[in-house]
């Protein structure tokens, strides 16, 4: 049983430079299960039960996507709206995700200078991830510091390959430092 669930969303992977390589680095890593949302649901008809089942069986959940308009690609929004049901993910009876850890893995075209006060985007990139962060908190999940590849517009292939290798090490580390899951009471 894999311990890390990567929910991956990229609408045009055939045009991707960064995520295609990040994905290759993650794929096949023991203990990591990659779930490609656009591939599974090209018509956005998300299988809510299956998604919830996947969430339940993985202690660590990664949302991996390119930053689009300071937000997630459309299918991730659809996924949140449908899968994180009231009474399941949040609300008085909604405790199923409690204690899980959530991390955003994203890439942004803009570089570090752009994502700072006074820069092109005026805020650090994490500010733009706040809606996801608050979603995780509402569901009682632990918010891990986002893993962000900045400045992808200006990255050349060797840099991207280096970023992919770093991502692989990051995943291994995350997997290996997992707390031993508490026995069910």
């Amino acid at each position: 049983m894999a311990s890390i669930l990567v929910l991956f969303a990229h609408p045009a992977l055939e045009k991707s430079r960064v995520h295609r390589r990040l994905l290759d680095a993650a794929a096949g890593l023991p203990g990591v299960y990659v779930h490609d949302l656009y591939e599974a649901y090209p018509d956005f008809d998300i299988d809510v039960r299956r998604e919830q089942e996947l969430l339940l069986t993985h202690p660590v959940i990664l949302l991996q996507y390119p930053l689009y308009w300071y937000s997630t690609p459309a299918i991730l929004k659809q996924w949140q709206d449908l899968v994180l049901e009231h009474g399941w993910a949040y609300g008085r009876a909604g405790t199923r995700l409690r204690g899980k850890r959530l991390q955003v893995v994203t890439s942004a075209g803009g570089g570090a200078q752009a994502y700072q006060p006074g820069g092109f985007n005026a805020h650090p990139v994490t500010d733009f991830l706040f809606p996801v962060e608050q979603t995780a908190r509402l569901c009682g999940m632990e918010w891990l510091p986002p893993y962000v590849v900045l400045g992808s517009h200006r990255m050349e292939l060797p840099e991207i390959d280096a970023a992919a290798a770093a991502y692989r090490r990051h995943l291994e580390q995350l997997r290996d430092t997992l707390p031993v899951p508490a026995e069910a009471p």
Partner: protein, 589 residues
């Protein structure tokens, strides 16, 4: 040009007798009927053809032959009369059932099977008749054929030989000839060749003393599975209406009013007798073959007339001396009259019989009065309509359904659906189904012509209804568009696109990319459709002809080659931004 001299020749040779005009109409008609009969179709229907068809011919021949015996005819003559009268009219019945959209019902399929068997049974009958001829009787040479001098068994051999000859000729000579003609690419030449073929075979058969109708029918069957079938059909199609008209006129003309005037009671009595006897035999067989009551009755009411082959058989029997003119004369009149009353019988069935039989089975019929305000009417609950209906029903919008397959109607009624039996193009039925109160009507009939007719009817009488129409082909889509309809659904478009999407995925394309590609393609295709709809008038008037369909496909494929997906989904393409960003930043200067 070619028909002229040949036609005149035909008529001239045999005397300008109306019966021969009739025969020529039948000749052409049967060629077309033969073309419809692919050997594969024959095989699929073999059980009903042999069983139902065989018993119908044998049963009817026995009953009517028995009556003929009682009326004082000698045994061989009675056999000939029985067999002759067991025929029904392929031309009339197929045309009628097709027009009413009933071919796919159980009764329609059974009718087809019976007619087919009869058509085939003519061959052995023609072979049998010479054996029935009284020994030593001098055959009256009607066609002046050289075979007349032969003894009975010799004639039988000649008949069989001629049949084999036509089959062999069709296979080994006609096809290569047609191929050569087709290669010239001249449409007129092909049409001429098709007509020449029909007339040539007619003459050939005549020269051996056989029915030209039978010969061309055979030629049709032989060519039915050839690659030129649609081409031949398409070329002869324009003549079809004309020929059918000619055929029906000929039937009317063959009625010898002097004869009827002389013995009106006898003739009318005979017509009644024949119709009732055939109807009863058919109804009984329908029982045996487990058709539901109303389908069985439909079969019985569709087929009781005597068919066009009877003209041929009677003429043949007369020429052999099996039957005298005092018998064939009245029987020709009976045959023609029985054909003439067929449409009336169908009306009687539709208006009087069917409503009773079908109402008798369901729950109380009064409940059909418009109780709740159904918002939607579905016309046709076959493969297409039923999916639509189920979706609506599952979402709380049960539709009122109109369907003309009584077996299906019965089932749907049992499932608690509101279903009206009958031809959806009937105004009274639409009104009864609540067309005045409904908001939406879905035209899902199998036949494009029927859907079109229905669309016109609805526009005329219920203009408040939003029409959603099923279309099968581009040509009928165009016609629906011409009516100003905007909700038109080509019934295989979505399925083919889905197949395409799955194929693209299997070839390695990303699921979402394939999905988008299909969405884009569909939009493009709809646009191309509208465009082609506007230009099609410049081309040939016969848009439904096979050759034009190919031309249309060619135009379509050519326009596809343009990069129509250019400019699609550019939002996901980061290249432009990347360049700008590397060149100094995105800030507007």
């Amino acid at each position: 040009m070619i028909i002229g001299p040949f036609g005149l020749h035909l008529v001239g040779q045999e005397g300008a007798d109306v019966m021969h005009v009739a025969e020529f109409g039948v000749v052409m008609m049967l060629f077309l009927v033969g073309l419809e009969l692919e050997p594969a179709l024959l095989w699929r229907l073999r059980a009903p053809i042999l069983g139902l068809g065989g018993l119908q011919v044998v049963g009817t021949a026995a009953v009517l032959g028995g009556i003929a015996l009682l009326l004082g005819l000698p045994f061989p003559a009675a056999v000939a009369v029985g067999l002759t009268l067991s025929m029904s009219s392929t031309a009339i019945v197929l045309q009628m059932l097709g027009e009413k959209g009933l071919m796919k019902t159980a009764a329609g399929q059974s009718s087809f099977a019976v007619l087919l068997f009869q058509d085939l049974a003519v061959i052995p009958m023609l072979a049998l008749f010479p054996l029935l001829a009284p020994a030593g009787a001098v055959a009256v040479a009607e066609h002046g054929s050289w075979a007349d001098g032969l003894p009975a068994w010799g004639k039988t051999l000649v008949v069989l030989g001629a049949v084999a000859g036509v089959v062999a000729l069709g296979r080994f000579a006609v096809r290569p000839a047609l191929r050569a003609v087709a290669r010239t690419g001249l449409r007129e030449l092909f049409t001429a060749a098709a007509l020449l073929l029909v007339i040539g075979i007619a003459l050939l058969m005549q020269s051996v003393g056989l029915s030209p109708a039978l010969g061309t029918f055979l030629a049709g069957v032989v060519l039915a599975d050839s690659e030129y079938r649609h081409e031949l059909e398409a070329d002869i199609e324009p003549f079809k209406g004309l020929l059918l008209g000619l055929f029906f006129i000929a039937v009317g003309a063959s009625i010898d009013f002097r004869l009827i005037a002389e013995r009106p009671g006898t003739i009318v009595g005979l017509v009644g007798l024949v119709l009732v006897a055939k109807l009863l035999v058919l109804a009984a067989l329908a029982r045996v073959f487990r058709l539901s009551t109303d389908q069985g009755l439909l079969l019985a009411f569709a087929l009781p007339q005597v068919g066009e082959f009877a003209f041929v058989l009677l003429a043949f029997a007369a020429s052999l001396g099996v039957l005298g003119v005092e018998v064939t004369g009245p029987l020709v009149a009976v045959t023609a009259l029985s054909m003439a009353v067929t449409p009336l019988l169908m009306v009687a069935y539709e208006r009087l019989i069917a409503p009773r039989v079908i109402a008798g089975r369901g729950e109380e019929r009064a409940a059909d009065a418009i109780d709740d305000q159904a918002g939607v009417i579905i016309c046709g609950f076959g493969r297409f309509g039923n999916t639509v209906g189920r979706l609506l029903r599952a979402n709380g919008h049960p539709a009122v359904v109109l369907d003309n397959d009584s077996d299906r109607v019965e089932l749907l009624r049992r499932m608690g659906l509101k279903v009206f039996y009958g031809d959806a193009t009937r105004l009274d039925l639409l009104t009864a189904a609540g067309a005045h109160q409904a908001r939406v009507i879905i035209l899902a009939l199998d036949s494009p012509e029927k859907n079109l007719e229905l669309a016109r009817l609805v526009q005329q009488h219920f203009p408040h209804l939003t029409v959603l129409a099923r279309a099968t082909d581009r040509p009928d889509t165009y016609e629906l568009m011409d009516l100003g309809l905007t909700h038109i659904y080509r019934d295989t478009l979505d399925t083919s696109l889905r197949v395409g999407v799955d194929a693209l995925r299997l070839l390695g394309m990303r699921a979402y990319a394939a999905h988008r590609a299909a969405q884009v393609f569909r939009k493009y295709d709809e646009a191309a459709l509208t465009e082609l709809a506007a230009t099609r008038r410049d081309r040939s008037a016969y848009i439904s002809l096979a050759r034009d369909r190919i031309a249309a496909l060619e135009a379509l494929l050519q326009s596809d080659r343009g990069e129509f997906s250019d400019g699609q989904d550019r939002g996901w393409d980061p290249e432009g931004v990347r360049e700008e960003s590397r060149a100094g930043g995105l800030r507007p200067s």
